[in-house]
Symmetry: C2
C-alpha cells in the first residue's frame, strides 16, 4: 500500500492475507509477471523515452538482496543496473550527500535499482547521532527536490519500497547467518547491535515516509518472500504498463 | 578455441560441429550450466577474493546483446554489472582512451561484462582512419599492460570473447531489423555502411588477436545462438571452478 499521511509501522502487518494462495502465486502468477516485466523492459529500452528508478530500503536481513535477485534475475541484464550503496568513501564524503546518488540515476531507456539509497543519510546516520534532527529535516527537503528533478527533467519514474519485517523475523534471519555455512559470510556482529536500535529506526523511517512523500512510499509486508516479490513485481508491472509504450519504427 | 599465434578468421567456421545435439544442449545442458554459474557467482561474492571481467567483441548483429541476455539473465544481478561502451563522450575524449574503461573494471567479488570495450579504440577508429597504424600499435601495447595490471594487482581474471559470424549471417540479421517491428529500433543505416568494411574489420581483429594476447582471446563461432552461449558459458564455468573458492566462516 502507498503511504498517505502518518504511519505507525508497528500497526502494519508484516505478513500476507490468509486467503492468498502461496503456491499459485509462486508457481503460476509470478513467472507470468516476470515475463511481462522482461518484455516491457525491452520496450522501455527500445522506445528510449522513460526511465525507472527503484529504491529499496529495509532493516538488515529484510530481504533486499533476495528481492533484487528474484525479481530482476528475470529481466535482460543489458537494461537493468543494480547499485548497492555502502558506507560512503572518503571521496564521497567530500561531496554533498546526493553527489554519489545522482551519479547513478537511470538514463532514458534504463531501469536502475538502488539497494539502499540516499535514505540511509537520514536513517542510520540519525541512529548513530551523526546527523542532527535539524540537518535531517534539511536533507529530507533536499531529497524531495532531488526526486522531483528526476521526475520532471528526465521523465524518470521513482518507485520506493520499504521491506517491512517484524523484529522477530529479523532475529531469526540474523541467527541463521550464525549457523548456515553458506550464510556465515553475511554475518556481522554490528547487525546485532543495530537491531537493538529497532525502535529508533522505526521512528526515523516513519518520519521519512511522511516527510519524503512527494514520490510516495510503498510499505511491503516482507516476512514471506513470495508475498514481498508479488507486491513489488505487481507495482513495477503496473508502472511500466502505465507508460503506454510502443516500438518506434525505422529511423528517418 | 583460444587464439594461439596468427589467425585467419575466414578460415574458421562460424557454425557448430554437425555431431552436436542442439536440443540436448539448449534444454538440458545449458540450464544446468547457468545454475552452476549462478551458484559460483554467489561464492565469488561471498569469498571476495577474485573478480571476473568478461569482454565481448564482435561485428554489428553478431549477437552481443543476446549473449549477455541469455547467459547473465540467470545470474544474481547483485553480483553482475554490464557496461555497454558507446561512442565516447566529449568528457571521455578529454582523457586517455583507457580512462573510462578503468573506471568500470570489477572490484573483488564481482563479475563485470563489457559489451564492446577498449578494443573499439583499435578497431572502428582504424577503419574510419582516425587512428594510424602506429598509434594503434601503441594502444595495443597499452591494452596489454592494462590487462596485466588488472590480473596482477587485483586478482582479476579477464575473459575475452570474439563472436564470430559470417558476412552472410550478418546481412540476414541486419535485413531482419528492417522488417520486424520489434527490431526496427535497432536498425541504423550506418551499420550497412560499416558492413561494407568487413574485410578491413577482419584484418584489424586478426591483428588484435595476435598483438593483445597476454590474456588470450576466444573465438566463438556465433551463427547459431545456442552454440555461442554454450561455448561462452562453458568457459566462464571452467574459469570460476578453477578459483577453488569456498565460503568464508564467521568473521573473527
Amino acid at each position: 500500500m502507498p503511504v498517505s499521511k502518518t504511519v505507525k509501522l508497528s500497526k502494519i502487518s508484516t505478513r500476507a492475507p490468509k486467503d492468498l494462495n502461496k503456491v499459485t502465486i509462486k508457481e503460476e502468477v509470478l513467472p507470468k509477471m516476470y515475463a511481462e516485466i522482461d518484455e516491457l523492459q525491452n520496450l522501455l529500452y527500445a522506445e528510449n523515452k522513460h526511465s525507472l528508478l527503484i529504491i529499496i530500503q529495509g532493516m538488515d536481513a529484510s530481504g533486499k538482496d533476495g528481492l533484487v535477485r528474484d525479481v530482476f534475475s528475470h529481466v535482460n541484464p543489458n537494461g537493468v543496473v543494480v547499485h548497492s550503496f555502502k558506507v560512503p568513501t572518503e571521496q564521497e564524503l567530500s561531496h554533498d550527500f546526493l553527489w554519489r546518488i545522482h551519479n547513478k540515476v537511470p538514463p532514458k531507456g534504463m531501469i536502475h535499482v538502488f539497494n539502499r539509497s540516499q535514505y540511509e543519510d537520514v536513517l542510520v546516520t540519525r541512529v548513530h547521532d551523526i546527523v542532527s534532527d535539524e540537518l535531517a529535516r534539511k536533507r529530507m527537503k533536499a531529497i524531495n527536490d532531488f526526486e522531483q528533478l528526476l521526475t520532471e527533467h528526465n521523465n524518470t519514474t521513482v518507485l520506493k519500497f520499504y521491506l517491512h519485517i517484524s523484529p522477530e523475523e529479523q532475529m531469526e534471519r540474523l541467527q541463521e547467518r550464525l549457523t548456515m555455512p553458506s550464510k556465515m559470510w553475511k554475518y556481522n556482529q554490528a547487525d546485532l547491535i543495530e537491531a537493538q536500535s529497532w525502535d529508533r529506526y522505526m521512528g526515523y523511517y516513519e518520519e521519512v515516509f511522511t516527510q519524503c512523500n512527494a514520490v510516495p512510499w510503498h510499505i511491503i509486508p516482507s516476512d514471506q518472500n513470495w508475498y514481498k516479490c508479488y507486491l513489488v513485481a505487481d507495482k513495477i508491472l503496473k508502472t511500466l504498463k502505465s507508460f503506454n509504450m510502443k516500438y518506434p519504427g525505422l529511423k528517418k
